[in-house]
């Protein structure tokens, strides 16, 4: 967090975090400021996301319950609000079981490294107008470099457990990562292409303002951007091992996959990492496509930027949960087929689409309508063709009745 | 509706050497059955399945019955020379005879194509101890696969020609056949390696050296 002076022209809510930080740093001698501000940023991130993780588990269980005609946890504290802490106490006090033949070092290392790797990506997300832990020129690259090793941890967990289910899960995790890393990155490239930068703050800044006074310049509100957003979210679902891509821990096939031999707090760490990863990818999606901390309309800027960011983030997370409650799981071959035969070609075509959009930035008037039409067609036509080939041979059936 | 006699006639016409007897059924159900000899069983089964006029394509139910050795008392009339000069006296005396038991396998056949059935086939083993094999009908009807394994498991009928004759409900190392009428329930089924008084005493009788961990002799 760079210690710039607080701009005075903004509302006090907007600058309140900065002032709080400066007030805290003022208690310390000047020579310690650089390290204190870093520690503070880390502490705030871990604290905020730790709390969010706790309540996200509750929210997921409540929401799933609502969707499934049941109340969800409602016994611990008022309306179940203390449930996450009860769970934490339970996880901490449980026996930590390590299989006799397990690779003990890797078995212990896997959950820790997974949590760490899922968390460090958050450092470059601009959570508000002035809220970014570190500002990097290659922030987008940093984010994906940090996330690249998460599936390696899952592999470690699966392999080190010396369990056949875990081993199968490890293989699945590898196949899944190889398949989905490509569309995930490819769907980000158009944003970088159009914004012309790898810096997350610059990408958010590029999405500020409104066309015709009401249409935000968010990337998701362009044809290529919408397509890239959808591809990103699908790949993000797969990257964070969420339903319908939760193959590594497919509970109806592999018991719990790579988690089979984990118990107690290590198991809880895996859960934590799953939610951190989900939150990190959603935060990146907000930054890249949904305008980051920008408010949707000018007069809505009375709410501070970080509130808008949180609102968008929570909406995406709710989407994750909704999808989990609704969809069945894909099979491993269908998973890879979806990645290679649908997502990757779509992402590549979308790249060309974004290049077209970027080149025609100067078109206006009736040409603007042509630009929109061409770009829309470049999304819809490949989508229809590719999805048809994906589901060839499948469809509703007509049934007959036996002659009596 | 095929009657059993009708089926029997067709079988005898096709397999003149085969023994096919009708076993009457005394209950109101009146479903008589056909006892066939083991030697021709497989041929007869194939014929029943493949002959268009019969087409018993589904073997619905396979089961065993254990018929114990029975003590039969025959009344034998002997003529003994009576009083000298008189007519011979007929003396009735009771003779005990053991009618050997056997194991019986019952197949219920139905024809889905003709909506006919059932035809009940019975196969009998020679006795209950040494000659306990009958030909397996699994090559004719796959539905017999598990059910014959079950009969083997619970009754001890050995099906020759069965592709995978293993125990199915009892565990592999098990020795007895629990559905036999003379099966004696073991008294140690609740044995477990815990030092509970009664169980441990029983266990000691069966397993002289305590092998399981946690089993102590502190009583």
């Amino acid at each position: 967090m760079t210690t710039t002076s607080v701009p005075s022209s903004e509302s006090w809510l907007e600058v309140a975090p900065l002032q709080a930080r400066d007030a805290l740093l003022g208690l310390l001698p000047e020579s310690l400021h650089w390290i204190a501000s870093s520690v503070l940023a880390i502490a705030v991130l871990v604290g905020a996301f730790g709390l969010m993780f706790a309540y996200l588990t509750l929210a997921e269980r409540k929401l799933l319950g609502r969707i499934q005609n049941r109340p969800g946890p409602n016994r611990t504290g008022w309306a179940g609000l203390l449930q996450p802490f009860a769970d934490a106490v339970k996880a901490l006090t449980k026996e930590d079981i390590v299989p006799r033949d397990a690779d003990k070092v890797l078995h212990a290392l896997a959950p820790v490294s997974l949590v760490a790797l899922s968390l460090i990506g958050l450092a470059v997300i601009p959570f508000g107008r002035h809220l970014v832990a570190i500002e990097l020129d290659a922030a987008v690259l940093y984010f994906f470099a940090a996330g690249a090793a998460t599936e390696l941890s899952i592999f470690m967990a699966g392999w080190a457990s010396r369990n056949k289910y875990s081993l199968l899960a490890a293989m699945r995790a590898l196949a899944q990562l190889i398949s989905y890393e490509v569309p995930l990155l490819l769907s980000v490239v158009p944003v970088v292409l159009v914004a012309g930068t790898l810096s997350t703050t610059a990408i958010v800044a590029a999405q500020g303002g409104w066309a015709a006074g009401f249409w935000p310049h968010w990337h998701v509100l362009t044809p290529w951007g919408f397509s890239a957003f959808c591809l990103f979210m699908i790949a993000a679902l797969a990257e964070s091992n969420r339903s319908p891509f939760d193959l590594p821990e497919a509970e109806s096939e592999l018991i719990a996959g790579h988690l089979t031999e984990y118990s107690g707090f290590k198991y809880a760490l895996f859960f934590m990492a799953e939610y951190f990863g989900m939150a990190a990818l959603s935060a990146m999606a907000v930054t890249l496509f949904l305008g980051g901390w920008q408010a949707p309309l000018g007069w809505l800027e009375v709410l501070p930027s970080y509130v808008w960011f949180a609102a968008k983030l929570l909406a995406l997370l709710a989407g994750f949960i909704w999808i989990r409650a609704t969809f069945p799981r894909l099979r491993i071959d269908q998973l890879t087929r979806l990645a290679w035969k649908f997502l990757v070609p779509m992402a590549l075509l979308n790249l060309a689409n974004a290049a077209f959009w970027s080149l025609t930035a100067g078109w206006s008037g009736p040409l603007q309508a042509v630009r929109w039409a061409v770009s829309l067609a470049a999304v819809v036509v490949p989508f229809l063709l590719l999805s048809r080939s994906l589901f060839s041979g499948l469809g509703p059936r007509v049934y007959r009745y036996a002659p009596s | 509706m095929d009657t059993v006699e009708h089926v029997r006639e067709r079988l005898l016409a096709r397999f003149p050497g085969a023994e096919v007897t009708v076993v009457p059924n005394g209950s109101p159900a009146g479903q008589h059955s056909l006892l066939i000899s083991a030697a021709h069983a497989l041929e007869i089964a194939r014929y029943l399945r493949d002959e268009p006029g019969l087409a018993y394509d589904q073997c619905s139910n396979v089961t065993g019955i254990d018929w114990r050795d029975r003590e039969v008392i025959d009344i034998v009339k002997d003529s003994q020379p009576g009083a000298p000069g008189g007519p011979p006296v007929v003396v009735e005396r009771k003779v005990k005879r053991i009618e050997p038991g056997y194991l019986e396998v019952v197949y219920h056949l139905y024809s889905l194509a003709r909506r006919e059935g059932p035809v009940v086939l019975r196969l009998r083993t020679g006795n209950r101890s040494t000659a306990v094999s009958v030909p397996s009908l699994t090559p004719v009807w796959r539905s017999c696969e598990f059910q014959e394994r079950e009969v083997f498991d619970l009754f001890g009928v050995v099906f020759t020609g069965h592709p995978d004759l293993r125990r199915i409900l009892m565990w592999d190392g098990y020795q007895d056949h629990p559905m036999r009428k003379d099966y004696v329930e073991p008294d140690d089924y609740e044995w477990e390696p815990t030092p509970h008084g009664d169980v441990l005493t029983k266990a000691k009788r069966h397993y002289p050296a305590p092998t399981a961990p946690g089993m102590t002799n502190d009583e």
């Binding site: 199968l168 | 209950s27 020795q175 007895d176 036999r180 099966y183």
Partner: protein
């Protein structure tokens, strides 16, 4: 006290069987042609989330492809049939509840039919209609649960299962108010039914029937057209009709393979010949067909329930001449079967003239349907094997007995 050593029990002393192929040896697995890949042997079960009880599949995998699958059962074996030989005819009735514990009503009915055949009893007309009502309610119950479990096996996070169980609860409430027990109903008797349903109960059934159609619509809207479900289930676990017939497969599984065989039509037991219903059949015999045939059967069951409720005559529900306790049928035998929700459930009884059956045999549909499990799974992945098992619809209480 008996001689305690099990090896010394009479029949064991006489003869010991040493079959050639006890146990399952991984070395006996033929290495798949085309080279490559280690084979991985996995024991799916007996404690596994999707084996629907204590069931085990010994699976040999090449990668994720199943190259061999041996079902192993017996974990729940309690020798039900031996128990039946030790109790009176009526005493076995509550035991039949525990066979397929989802469908105690149809188990009761099949057993009652077998005894009625054996003893030559008649059933009053009202009882026949009540039996139809209960059997069709059981069918709804079973198929709804099956669809929920199947979707759970496909990876749905409980939503279809919860929807299914919501409806199941309503039916179980009806059973409870009629028989006093939700699952172990013990309701049928030889020559009729135990208690006469009240008009209020019949009205409750009518109400449930009216809301079942909309529930099915909702359920189907969520699942039937879902692309992932179609991709997961269509073309998976195809069962050819000839194999299905030969392997004794019955029930919805047989009909999904294209054989329109329904004992309600074929045997025409009870009052089914007087009621109007159709038998849906599938053309592909895959998991999707098995699911859809069951959904369509539920719709037929709704129509059957409506007809039966409308035509329900008055009169007694139990033949007063039928003897319940101390029933001693003449020596002989009988095989009674009905179309249970899972397939043909039959009871084969041999009487020797005493109060206990000499032989009491259950023909369990799930057990026989499992014969084809390996054939269906070979060449598919583990994930498919799980849903194929789910589509067979087994209950271990019935398989192991």
């Amino acid at each position: 006290m008996f001689d305690a050593n099990p090896a010394a029990s009479p029949s064991a002393r006489v003869r010991k069987v040493e079959p050639s192929s006890f146990g399952f040896q991984p070395s006996s697995v033929p290495p798949p042609a085309g080279g490559g890949g280690d084979l991985l042997e996995i024991s799916l079960g007996p404690h596994h989330p999707s084996t629907h009880g204590v069931f085990r599949m010994n699976v040999v995998l090449d990668g994720e492809t199943v190259v061999r699958l041996k079902p192993v059962f017996g974990y729940l074996h309690r020798n039900h049939e031996k128990l039946g030989e030790g109790t009176s005819y009526l005493g076995s009735m509550p035991y039949t509840d525990r066979l397929d514990y989802l469908n105690s009503m149809t188990n009761n009915w099949a057993y009652a039919i077998a005894v009625e055949k054996l003893a030559g009893l008649t059933v009053p007309e009202r009882a026949e209609y009540v039996r139809v009502i209960l059997a069709e309610l059981t069918r709804l119950l079973n198929h709804t649960c099956l669809a929920g479990f199947l979707m759970q096996d496909c990876g749905c996070s409980g939503t279809p299962l919860m929807y299914a169980f919501r409806e199941r609860e309503r039916i179980l409430d009806l059973f409870e108010s009629l028989s006093g027990s939700r699952m172990m109903c013990n309701y049928q008797r030889f020559g009729g039914c135990r208690v006469d349903p009240t008009p209020a109960w019949l009205a409750a059934v009518a109400q449930l029937v009216d809301r079942y159609g909309p529930f099915l619509d909702e359920f189907e809207e969520l699942l039937t057209g879902n692309e992932i479900i179609m991709a997961r289930t269509q073309g998976v676990g195809r069962l050819p009709a000839a194999l299905a017939v030969n392997a004794g497969v019955t029930g919805p599984m047989l009909r999904a393979s294209g054989v329109g065989h329904d004992l309600r039509k074929v045997d025409g037991y009870g009052v089914y010949p007087r009621l109007n219903f159709r038998v849906p059949v599938g053309d592909h015999g895959d998991v999707y067909d098995r699911y859809m045939v069951r959904v369509l059967e539920m719709r037929e069951s709704i129509s059957l329930l409506r007809q039966a409720l409308a035509a329900l005559p008055g009169g007694p529900v139990l033949d007063p001449k039928a003897k319940q306790r101390g029933l001693r049928p003449k020596a002989g035998e009988a095989y009674g079967r009905i179309e249970g929700p899972k397939g043909e459930i039959g009871f084969y009884l041999v009487s020797d003239g005493t109060a206990n059956p000499y032989r009491y045999r259950v023909r369990p549909p799930s057990f026989v349907n499992l014969t084809v499990l390996e054939d269906l799974c070979l060449g598919h992945t583990v994930a498919d094997a799980v849903i194929i098992l789910g589509s067979i619809d087994i209950v271990l209480g019935e398989v192991d007995r």
